[in-house]
């Protein structure tokens, strides 16, 4: 359907900040992939592949990952609590799911999962989350510090809205970044202050580099309010060492920065020599409490082994803001009333999972281990596959669910891209989609190239590790064949 322009609202007269940001995971390549898929449905055989393999979005269940049975049993019972009164329920649901659903429902006013809840989320569920955090970290957590939210994205958006007063407020962000950060900072009128992660250093963070970016920003008149750290990293997949984390904590404490700790991949770690440590735990281990340093930690039910992206469940734990600041956050949260109840329940289940002794524990553990071991396997397989390609180097994936291989493109390919007026990584990603039916996100979508790196011109793609093992076996030969043909086409023939 085509629409004509109307007088008053045109692309020129909408909020310019809306025009400025981009969000590539759902951007051009993704849309093109959808169009190709439609085309394939209408004309099967019109392309050299039968289906698109979507590696652009961290969306596990869309690629065949199964939900955790216990979680879905509890959700179902909470949505239809009359089942709890029926004998037949015991034939359809595990006893521990029935028990947990009862506990959750009984803590809800009116025993009903329909009403608006308090804007921070239901208290008993926040208590479960706080207990889970305390169990994970070994340091206490308070339910009043927890805000349940519609996915971590809402929480991140809310935090940035609170902190950004004008374009003179800067937020330190890693590059490459997950582009929610740049989008949100732009939409709220702030300034992103990038600090480059070091590809040669396994995407590690050099604190002196961050310090340099901070000082440059301050010299230019910016007030730097916070530092975003994504650990494990997206798109880069590194897990920070404790030393690195301690450096960050000391740095932020000294410079008066809030740590915005995106920790949504805490349950996705694939290497033996790294563990997840929350920034709160690191800070407390250094002897710092909420008076010494402010930390906001974000978590979500979308990733890990639960993969419940579409439920929009998550939380932020805020330590070190005064009560009046928390009150202001509550006020803004109250304008959209409350986060969705299904997401709230799921968040509490992820943080308060079945334990040894629960009747469903074995099944839960089996499902969880199955998913996590498969992710480890797929991570390794794809990492090796990328590294086997001519001119491609791929850092080791320690965590999260993405690979971020670097493609050393031949000069002729870069020239061809320029002729088409697009960035070389977009050119490569388009061809990968058109010729091999594999959808990835071009590295420029993660803004890896800051002003400083423009000269160097490194090109990447972000590819998830999420297609099922069978699909990955299908995908790798397609990828190899495509890449070989591409390199041959643009090979330097001088």
């Amino acid at each position: 359907m085509s629409y004509n322009k109307t007088a008053s609202i045109t692309a020129e007269t909408i909020n310019p900040r809306v025009k400025t940001f981009n969000y590539e995971p759902c951007g051009e390549i993704a849309k093109h992939a959808e169009r190709l898929e439609e085309e394939l449905k209408k004309n099967p055989g019109s392309r050299p592949f039968q289906e698109i393999i979507y590696c652009n979005l961290g969306n596990p269940q869309a690629l065949g990952q199964l939900p955790i049975t216990f979680f879905r049993e509890v959700l179902s019972l909470c949505d239809n609590p009359t089942l709890l009164e029926r004998d037949e329920a015991s034939m359809l649901f595990s006893p521990c799911a029935i028990k947990r659903a009862r506990k959750i429902i009984e803590a809800m006013p009116g025993r009903d999962s329909g009403p608006y809840t308090p804007s921070q989320g239901i208290k008993s569920l926040r208590e479960s989350v706080a207990d889970g955090i305390a169990g994970r970290d070994g340091y206490p957590s308070r339910p009043e510090d927890i805000f349940l939210t519609d996915g971590a994205s809402s929480a991140i958006n809310l935090t940035l809205q609170m902190l950004i007063r004008s374009d003179e407020d800067g937020i330190l962000c890693p590059l490459p970044e997950y582009p929610l950060y740049s989008a949100s900072i732009i939409l709220h009128g702030g300034t992103m202050i990038p600090y480059n992660l070091s590809e040669d250093g396994d995407w590690g963070l050099e604190i002196f580099e961050v310090k340099r970016c901070l000082e440059e920003a301050r010299i230019s008149g910016l007030t730097v309010r916070a530092m975003v750290v994504i650990n494990p990293g997206n798109p880069t997949g590194q897990v920070l060492s404790i030393t690195n984390q301690e450096e960050i904590v000391e740095f932020c404490r000294k410079e008066g920065l809030v740590i915005l700790a995106d920790e949504v991949y805490q349950d996705n770690i694939y290497v033996e020599n790294k563990k997840f440590n929350s920034f709160k735990k690191v800070a407390r281990s250094l002897g710092y409490n909420a008076n010494d340093i402010s930390i906001v930690s974000y978590h979500s039910v979308s990733m890990g082994y639960s993969g419940e992206c579409g439920r929009r469940g998550g939380y932020m734990e805020i330590c070190g803001f005064g009560e009046d600041v928390i009150g202001a956050i509550c006020k803004v949260a109250s304008v959209t009333l409350c986060p969705n109840i299904g997401g709230q329940i799921l968040t509490s289940l992820v943080m308060d999972r079945p334990k040894i002794g629960d009747d469903c524990f074995e099944r839960f553990l089996a499902e969880k281990d199955n998913i996590q071991s498969s992710l480890v396997k797929r991570a390794k397989t794809l990492e090796e596959a990328f590294n086997s390609l001519e001119g491609v180097t791929c850092n080791k994936i320690e965590g999260a669910i993405y690979l971020f291989p670097r493609i050393h493109l031949p000069a002729a390919a870069i020239k061809a891209a320029k002729t088409e007026g697009i960035s070389p990584d977009i050119f490569y990603a388009c061809r990968l989609l058109d010729d091999a039916g594999i959808a990835v996100v071009p590295g420029s979508g993660f803004h890896q190239i800051s002003g400083r790196n423009m000269v160097a011109g490194t090109w990447h793609i972000r590819c998830t590790i999420l297609p099922g093992e069978d699909k990955i076996n299908e995908m790798i030969p397609r990828l190899k064949a495509f890449h070989e043909a591409f390199m041959n086409e643009f090979r330097d023939r001088s």
């Binding site: 008053s8 969000y23 029926r86 009403p115 519609d150 809205q161 950004i164 402010s294 009333l337 299904g342």
Partner: protein, 482 residues
Amino acid sequence: MAATVAVENLNPKVLKCEYAVRGEIVIHAQRLQQQLQTQPGSLPFDEILYCNIGNPQSLGQQPVTFFREVLALCDHPYLLQRDEIKSLFSADSISRAKQILASIPGKATGAYSHSQGIKGLRDTIAAGITSRDGFPANADDIFLTDGASPGVHLMMQLLIRNEKDGILVPIPQYPLYSASIALHGGALVPYYLNESTGWGLEISDVKKQLEDARSKGIDVRALVVINPGNPTGQVLAEENQYDIVKFCKNEGLVLLADEVYQENIYVDNKKFHSFKKIVRSLGYGEEDLPLVSYQSVSKGYYGECGKRGGYMEITGFSAPVREQIYKIASVNLCSNISGQILASLIMNPPKAGDESYASYKAEKDGIIASLTRRAKSLEDAFNKLDGITCNEAEGAMYLFPQLSLPQKAIEAAKAANKAPDAFYALRLLESTGIVVVPGSGFGQVPGTWHFRCTILPQEEKIPAIISRFKVFHEAFMAEYHD
């Protein structure tokens, strides 16, 4: 060196925005509720009665069985393989769940969906809109959102460039609008509804406000209409709606139509007409008027507030603008799947012939009839009190009575540093446990005082509420009479 983040250095727009529905009075009520738990008998009442928020199921309204059955099956699709469900779920809830799952790619109910929402569900909603209005709706025009509220935020974010961009908002208004405009740094341009004509809208008044704003250098971009009204409860007359549409077209305004109470109508002489239907009835097409219509699963007879389901139907915007709207929606990926499913269910409920139809209809009719009765009882009760006048609630879920406060009360309020209606509402709370929202939270003609009270408490509680209220009010008026 912590405490670098303090209220003084937060985004000032955040500090400026207010949302009285969960504001000061409500926070105080929650403290009193705690007190009742820890020290029973310490207050002159046994329980807090929350009449502040349109939250039907928190006050005993039951969910619609069919909707919850479908949701439960979609939550745990494995159930559909088990024979035992036949004794627990109706045949049509089973078939609807199957149908919904089939429309989800890979039947993956946990995956992020398309950022506008699952296509099959949008098709269903579009069909529901078409059948409601008699004019076609398109699935591509629908954006499923976590309740209607995020859709309002999205449009404000899109439309407001700076503090010189204005949005016409009815006064009294649902304070999401003022809060959202404040958060996005725009200017609220008020147009007053007329209490003496049943909260009617005079286009000439709106035009005057528009011109006034323009003369002050405000670029007025949109007009918000809430129909049925919140807090005011009026259902617009069709002629009024025609006037509004023509006005928006002539003045180049986007029409933001908050229609979340479309299924809450309590009078026989009024019907709900969507603004889209009005626009199309006038022969206006896509080139003539940008229109956004909001609907939600929180209200009606379904009351599924906590599920956060809703949609906006956007028509009359150019393709480049629509792309930008899509882009904003995509940053948050998608709205929650349960809410999406519910939105499709309310727009395509059981029909005559379906197994669940009889019980669905009985539940629906029962709820609407009860709301109608409660609206009337409370309205009559308020009108019987000296110093209170209350317009009829033709729709929505609220009464917005006007208080004629004696001068002494107004002075006492000043001395307590409170708006007179907030002073009254606080005293009401402390004497009776009844929680209402002061009219100043919604805006009102200066010098007039109101409060918003929902019609949602259970029917059995209404007589007690009325008598407690009466006792309080008469004592209050006696205390402060001139």
